[in-house]
Amino acid sequence: MHYSILVLFLILAVISISVFVYVFLTSKSNDNQSTGMANALQKRFWFILILLVILCIFASVTIPKSPYYQFADKQPSKVIHVAAQQFNFIMSNNAIDPKSPVGDAYITVDANELVEFRVTSLDVNHGFAIYDPAFKLIAQTQAMPGYINRLRYQFKEPGLYHILCLEYCGMAHQVMRSYFTVK
């Protein structure tokens, strides 16, 4: 469970709902008579500016953490080739021939080694999502026909990692999965 995201959302949601409820209650009480503004669209400039500043700070903090910049200047020690097709993942330590795709039965990577997944699709769009042993989503990229997406990741904990398809790809989408081991 990604608690931090859920908690962040809940805090923001509760704050904004409280503001709304409070404002609503002030309009119900009888002791004030039309102290509101004649034109509600006036004097909102400061609100916009504050909001803009908050959003800019949030953006500048989060953008450098985007997956495109992760491990960009390092040399991966292992590459796993992935070809997704309806409805399974072909994973191999070697390059996969699209005409006769064959994968390795077991994929193993070492803990703390930098792995590069080279992900493509042989038919429709698929998702390539890596779930840790506790079934928490930790990394993903898309498998798109005609393109190879390179996803780099360093697995800290040993265990069995699962791969689920996260882009709707047809009637057996929900059972399209694979796994690999981190030693």
Partner: protein, 480 residues
Amino acid sequence: MIASRLKKITSLWVVIVLLLFVISIILGILMRLNQGDVIQLSPVTFYTDMTVHGLTMISIWYVAGMAAVNFIMERYVTTSKPANIIALVFTLIGVLMLWASTFIGKFHAGWTFLYPLPFKEMLKAWATPLFLFSIAVLGVGWLIWCVSLIAGMLKKYSLAQVFAWQYFRKGPKTETPPFILISMITLVGIVTCLLAAVILLVLLFAEYFSKGAFVNDALLIKNLTYFFGHTIANEMLYLGLAVIYELFAEISGKPKWKTTWYVALAWNCTLFFILTAFFHHLYMDFVQPEGLQILGQLASYLASLPAAGVTVFSIVVAIYRTKINWTLANLLFFIGVMGWVVGGLGAVIDATISNNFVLHNTLWVPAHFHTYNAMGNVLFSLGFFYWFSFQFSNKMDDNKLSALKLFFLVFGGIGFLAAFYIGGADSIPRRYSNYPDEFPLAKTLAIIGGSFATIYLIGILLFFVNISKRCVKILFSRSS
């Protein structure tokens, strides 16, 4: 004063939208129950339902917004009734074609029909072309409607006035009502995304009819798909906002809102942001250049500025320590804005690339867009429907049921959405007909979601009965 023909067309829209809404909600509940293992649907049936649910919902709340905007626009300019009727007919035909391609032909590629999935095996070979033609029919009808409304506005206002550019100079001589400004901005956005759909369909048909001699680029098609899909889903909310700008003050017994320079600036900027925000659907396609990904994040953030910065604060300030005549209509608007803000928060979290890395295509995605549809846009339109249905009757609102209706909507909505949000944070995938056992929470959450959605449905049914009774009366009243 208001042409009785427009009154009748609008009431027909209201009845059709509500009827289709009830059907679509039932499809949604069936999906959640299937995910919770309460009922057993075959995966193809599930994904067929999902396709119908998605596209019908998009269609009806889009046309609901359009019908409302069209009705109110008659106060300022003359609107074309034939265009309105053409849109109605095309929408009905489009939806019927959609249902035929899905329920009979078992087209199940999802409402986003992401290439090349539609060209893979569907049960019936004609299902895919029929589905694509249904989109084409809907698109053409809506395009005609949009163009007629834009033409109507341009007849009265100049190009500069309709975008409220005169407010950028000191002492503007003419006034542009906020309603006209927002309608124009929104309609131009809608025309743009409908044109994207046209290009998308041309490319898809080219591949279909050339029998594979011409092959599309998957990345290009994905960009075009979300240009159309994301933008129309977003713009339909703004149609609702246009109505709120016009009606909220009026229903609350307050003076009308007036455009100011930064309202004009904010909404003009929206036009740009809204057309580039769709890039956030492609964050996980690392093939997309980083520049566009970052533009996607910034545009998604900034698109909230005019919306939140102007609309939300305006509503809040308009109400704060002010005596308001609360009726069901403006309460719906108010709660709708609240739901929209909460959904927007979920959206901003997901539109952050580093969060999207672990949230993309989990239940977080349906969580946020259901929030600002089911708890935002639907309430905007219901507010309008309610106000509209009472416009032409002498009877006053019976308040007995009002609180109950709202309770059902809000209580059902919150429970239904909470199940989605928790599921999303728990990494549960979206668009799964059945959940793997490794997600222990998934089935429970699905049952909770389905149950609360049923409560929400009861609220909608109460509205449906009440509003459509009045609308049918308007429909069959003798023209005066």
